[in-house]
């Protein structure tokens, strides 16, 4: 592309960029302290039902290799 062609393409892109930025500038933002607190609370509340955090008893582990049983 010649540099002039680039400008024409850039003009369109510039219009779209500005339009998008106008939209994003209007967003409401909450404080990071509040956002973090909510994320932390979620983790803590769900920790008990998170198998990878709590550990999985061998008898309930679906991926554990099953050893063959022998009947004595």
């Amino acid at each position: 592309m010649s540099s002039k062609a680039q400008s024409s393409y850039n003009l369109n892109q510039a219009r779209q960029t500005v339009q998008q930025l106008r939209l994003e500038a209007r967003n409401e933002r909450i404080k990071v302290s509040k956002a973090s607190a909510d994320l932390m609370n979620y983790c803590i509340e769900c920790a008990r039902t998170d198998p990878l955090l709590m550990g999985i008893p061998a008898s309930e582990n679906p991926f554990k290799e099953k050893k063959p049983c022998t009947i004595l």
Partner: protein, 524 residues
């Protein structure tokens, strides 16, 4: 040679195609690399002073084709000294004519009266490919003289002089591209836009800073540390013969599908380690795979630019749909249901498809780099995408608009995921870091980096509570991060090559890692 002006054929080609016409033997060559997604039929007529010759419609694949134009006897007796070339990407209206005289290379084009109001975007460059022709810089730059031209002055003929070398026998010339003419008024608009753009960016940064009263890690100071998270390797799934590029769990948390560049999709029963279904792929260059929530369908795609959907419940896997409209590779796909699927592509767009019609429902455009990854929000109203422009974007699925943009990474974002509450997203990048962005405060809240980790992040998945982040890296490992405290708490080691994909099933009972070493491993 006498000059005959021929009517321009009407192509629906893009600028990348190159057309050749040999005066000695009338062949038309069309080069269609990278255009698999474009309209493939070529239908034109060479109008030789009333004598029409028609080339049959042909389906074109990615290679050069010689389409023989058969000329009627009368025409053969005359001299064909010229063939017009249309630049398909012209914004000119069809009434403009472009002629080229092979013996005396001049390019003529006209701007018709009435077109002066239109934004003329025309770029001419006589392409050097195959060493055939070259436009003189002078004429091209004259046409591009900014600000001193208004379109009214352009009405009339313009020349771009070309030279060319003889090429073994036939004299052939390739033409491609456009000549750009930009008005002075446009330059003024460009300056104004740039100013507004800078102002808006500063405004957004200030708004973000205003709510930045802490960091996630600082806030998580009081949270008990996890200690070392040690997961055991439970199964190694052997079956693929080449690098594994993608995997996806079924919603039943038992079945899983993997894709490898050995040209197969394999559906596994992870409880037994058995392979349930093998889907042979048309194109081995697969980059992504997805399981539908119903488990009836799987989808895959890659360098073929196509997302193919398969019915795996049939007696043998049957292709249900080929979604073919992306102009770049398919990097990621995710089903919303059996009737809708989202794709991300190297053509910088994401697309929502209707599986019943096979058509695009919505195209999401805003990224300026290849889209590498996407993830659906838990509520299914939004989705996020990560791209090579180092940005992550939040989209409104139904409106088709980009709602938020997250920056901070310094290289391609390869992996992206929602935090289970839906209020935050995690990204993984070639810059060797992962980041957490909170959607409601619209900014980065944690950065997961380690001085000893110098490998790019290829994939990531979260445990059900969101506390653990499993990130696959180029260093052959999957590292485990404490999402709240930003600390590394464990590692899944065992692969002999890059970890390319990671996934945690819906019930959270384990992690699956897939690697270029052709194995999938299950850990918990």
């Amino acid at each position: 040679m006498s000059e005959k002006v021929l009517k321009s054929p009407e192509f629906s080609w893009t600028a990348r195609s190159i057309e050749y016409y040999s005066t000695h033997s009338p062949h038309l060559f069309v080069h269609t690399v990278d255009q698999l997604a474009e309209r493939r039929a070529l239908n034109f007529a060479l109008d030789l002073q009333g004598v029409v010759s028609r080339v049959e419609e042909k389906m074109l694949a990615s290679s050069e084709h010689g389409l023989r134009a058969s000329l009627k006897e009368e025409a053969k007796r005359g001299e064909i000294s010229l063939l017009p070339f249309l630049f398909p990407s012209l914004c000119f209206i069809p009434s403009s004519l472009i002629s080229f005289i092979p013996s005396n290379p001049h390019l003529f084009f006209t701007v018709e009266e009435g077109q002066e109001k239109e934004r003329v975007s025309l770029q001419v460059k006589l392409d050097q490919q195959s060493a055939l022709g070259r436009a003189s810089e002078e004429s091209v730059s004259r046409l591009c003289n900014l600000g001193q031209w208004n379109l009214k002055e352009l009405i009339g003929e313009h020349r771009a002089r070309g030279d060319w070398d003889q090429v073994a026998g036939d004299k052939v010339l390739t033409l491609s591209g456009k000549v750009t003419v930009i008005m002075a008024a446009e330059k003024a608009e460009m300056d104004a836009l740039k100013k507004e753009c800078d102002g808006l960016r500063a405004q957004i940064e200030a708004a973000r800073k205003a709510v930045n009263d802490t960091t996630m890690t600082a806030a998580a100071n009081g949270v008990a540390p996890l200690g070392r998270v040690q997961l055991k390797l439970r199964k190694s799934l052997k079956g693929h013969l080449a690098k594994i590029y993608a995997m996806h769990w079924s919603e039943d948390s038992r079945q899983m599908v993997s894709a490898s560049q050995d040209g197969k999709l394999l559906v596994w029963d992870t409880f037994t380690g058995n392979k349930l279904v093998a889907v042979p792929l048309k194109s081995a260059w697969v980059m992504s795979v997805a399981f539908a929530p119903s488990a009836n369908l799987v989808a895959s795609g890659g360098l073929d630019n196509i997302c193919t959907v398969y019915n795996i419940k049939a007696a043998s896997p049957k292709t249900l749909r080929e979604l073919d409209a992306h102009t770049g590779y398919l990097s990621c796909c995710r089903f919303l249901s059996d009737s809708e699927i989202l794709t991300a592509s190297g053509d910088t767009t994401c697309v929502l498809w209707d599986l019943e019609t096979g058509k695009q429902k919505t195209v999401y455009t805003n990224h300026i780099g290849d889209c590498m990854s996407l993830a659906l929000a838990p509520d299914m109203n939004m989705f996020i995408s990560g791209a090579c422009d180092s940005l992550a974007k939040l989209w409104d699925l139904r409106e088709g608009t980009c709602k938020q943009t997250f920056s901070g990474h310094t290289s391609d974002i390869n992996a992206i995921s929602f935090f289970p509450s839906g209020n935050a997203i995690i990204t993984g990048s070639d810059d060797c870091s992962c980041k957490m962005y909170d959607l409601r405060s619209d900014q980065e809240v944690t950065d997961y980096t380690d001085a000893t980790l110098n490998a790019g992040v290829t994939s990531l998945a979260l445990s059900n509570s969101g506390r653990l982040i499993f990130a696959g890296y180029d260093d052959f490992n999957c590292h485990i991060w404490d999402s709240l405290k930003g600390e590394k708490v464990g590692v899944l080691s065992g692969h002999d090559n890059r970890v390319s994909c990671t996934g945690v099933p819906a019930d959270g009972m384990g992690v699956c890692t897939g690697s270029w070493d052709s194995f999938l491993k299950l850990w918990n």
